[in-house]
Symmetry: C2
Subunit: 338 residues, 2 copies
């Protein structure tokens, strides 16, 4: 295929998601309307909580994938709007439950729903949005799409449970870690992209290509997220670091540092992550160890391979602004690390 992870090399700008945001902006505005409309309920607390998270400045990456994929496939109808809203509802439901499961107080710099309203409504509003997402899909009426997204939802839940099990386990392998993020994070990216081809009634090869694009993009994104959680640069920018460390989550930087560490270092990882005994300067030490073993560079290198695969998957689509914007969003997934 020989696609180099792109964005126009001739230009002197950083890769970003601005291009794709511009190209789907009109559709996305209508998706946002659909989201508000379908989050309504005679029980006021529901749109209140859903709105808190939905309006909290998420990038709407997943619904954008559905919109862009449908357009890339030449789709000219309106059904992709409801489907993009359904995808965002699944994502929002997952975040609501995630924050309860992780006892998180902050997301995107704002209080989480569970921090403001408590765990109970956060769980139940997640259930509501999940049900609503299926109602939206039913309105569109494609059983194939219902199949793809219900399967993705099951895989996401499996990935979350799998992650719970690997948490605090320093013997977690890279393969187990990748299995978790492929399920927990990449499955929805993959499904969101894939249904763009289905709604446009395109042949299996295009469906598979978009699935591959989304899956690899999702893995690249998560690898970089996991890397940024230990990044000195993030720390300098005043962003939170060390959340995963404090939660005992075994992400790739730790898997690599643990594998390359000596006996004393492994004892450190076991104490801090398995026994959850953390002292004030343990995060700083963890970051030094991860740096010393080149674990962040290694994680980034893997992320670039996935981003490259994502871009290559688009090769069977005709060249044009949409394809280039999607390729650039793959480059952005890794270049945002800096």
């Amino acid at each position: 295929m020989g696609v180099v992870v792109p964005f126009d090399g001739g230009e002197d700008r950083e890769p970003s998601i601005d291009l794709i945001v511009q190209l789907v902006a009109k559709d996305l505005a209508r998706v946002n309307e659909a989201i508000l409309l379908h989050a309504r309920s005679h029980v006021d607390m529901i749109p209140e909580i859903a709105g808190h998270l939905i309006a909290s400045g998420g990038k709407r990456l997943r619904p954008m994938l559905t919109l862009a994929a449908a357009r890339l496939c030449g789709y000219r109808g309106d059904d992709h709007l409801a489907l993009a809203a359904a995808v965002e509802f699944i994502h929002t439901a997952t975040l609501l439950h995630d924050d309860v499961v992780d006892s998180s107080d902050l997301r995107r710099g704002r209080d989480t729903a569970n921090a403001v309203w408590g765990n109970k409504p956060a769980v139940l509003v997640g259930d509501f949005l999940f049900a609503r997402s299926f109602q939206l899909m039913v309105e569109v009426g494609s059983l194939r799409i219902l199949e793809i997204l219900s399967h993705a939802a099951a895989v996401i839940a499996e990935g979350e449970v799998h992650q719970l099990i690997t948490a605090n386990d320093t013997t977690t392998t890279e393969a187990a870690y990748l299995e978790v993020i492929e399920a927990k994070n990449a499955a929805l990216f993959a499904a969101a992209s894939r249904i763009g081809a289905v709604v446009a009634d395109r042949p299996p090869a295009e469906e598979a290509a978009l699935e591959r694009f989304g899956r690899n993009l999702g893995i690249a994104y998560q690898l970089v997220d996991d890397m940024l959680d230990f990044s000195a640069r993030q720390s300098e920018l005043g962003k939170t670091v060390g959340d995963d460390f404090r939660d005992g989550k075994i992400t790739l930087p730790i898997v690599i540092a643990f594998a390359r560490g000596d006996a004393e270092e492994r004892a450190f990882w076991r104490r801090t992550l398995e026994q959850s005994e953390q002292e004030a300067d343990d995060l700083a030490r963890a970051m030094r160890l991860i740096e010393r073993h080149g674990a962040l560079a290694e994680t980034l290198a893997r992320a670039r391979v996935y981003a490259q695969s994502a871009a290559e998957a688009l090769a069977l689509f005709p060249d044009g602004p949409l394809r280039r914007a999607l390729e650039e969003s793959a480059a952005f997934a890794t270049e945002r690390a800096f």
Copy 2:
């Protein structure tokens, strides 16, 4: 219609659900197999937790309604089996999340999943079963049934949030209480019955009749459950009483006792339920007040009206063992109070 809440008056036995259990026994055995099969996952903790609750001796009322309704409609295929399993998955997911939301330690005399494994996996396995239920429906391939059950799932979640809001609020009206249980409890009974007619491809009148049967049966069941939570007889039998009181849930017995109480009694209800300040003998006093105002008899009287409506809804079906067994299950809903 003039149907008297039935079971053969000529016989000297109590109404029970034994008849309906017998009539669907073969189908139900196959549903149980489908449940075990579809709760499988390569993440072992999932079938372990799902199995804990699914095997814990629930009566399988809701899937039995789907099976019986389909047979009552003359259905001769196998799709009702997967649908009954889907209904049980939605119910199980709801129970898992309910027990997290209520911080319950016991259900059906066994430790709850959240008590054994913690809240995190209980939330996530609920999500998994919910997704699986939609996968099962997709396999059957009826968009109408997907519509009915996704709508029911949204209504259930709305009812749960609504219940959270009315909890600890002694000004809750009977109408608000009924709205909560109609959504939280009766919606799945209604949908489970209704889809029996849809899978059998029967006309709207039969669908509506089964919906009405299920909805009224669900309300009757819940009214009696709420009554039994304050029943001296239950207490004598060694069953737990007072759970709702301790949780500050405002159920019909309390709504009635509060409405009929004097100023001192209302102060008691406000202290125990609104301010959640409960002392050792408060439950006993609550039960005395509820008894004195005839609130249990009144609740049971309402339940009988709903059970009667449930039985009447079946009048358009031809007489026969299945219809009679369903009518008897409506009678059982209230007669189990003794």
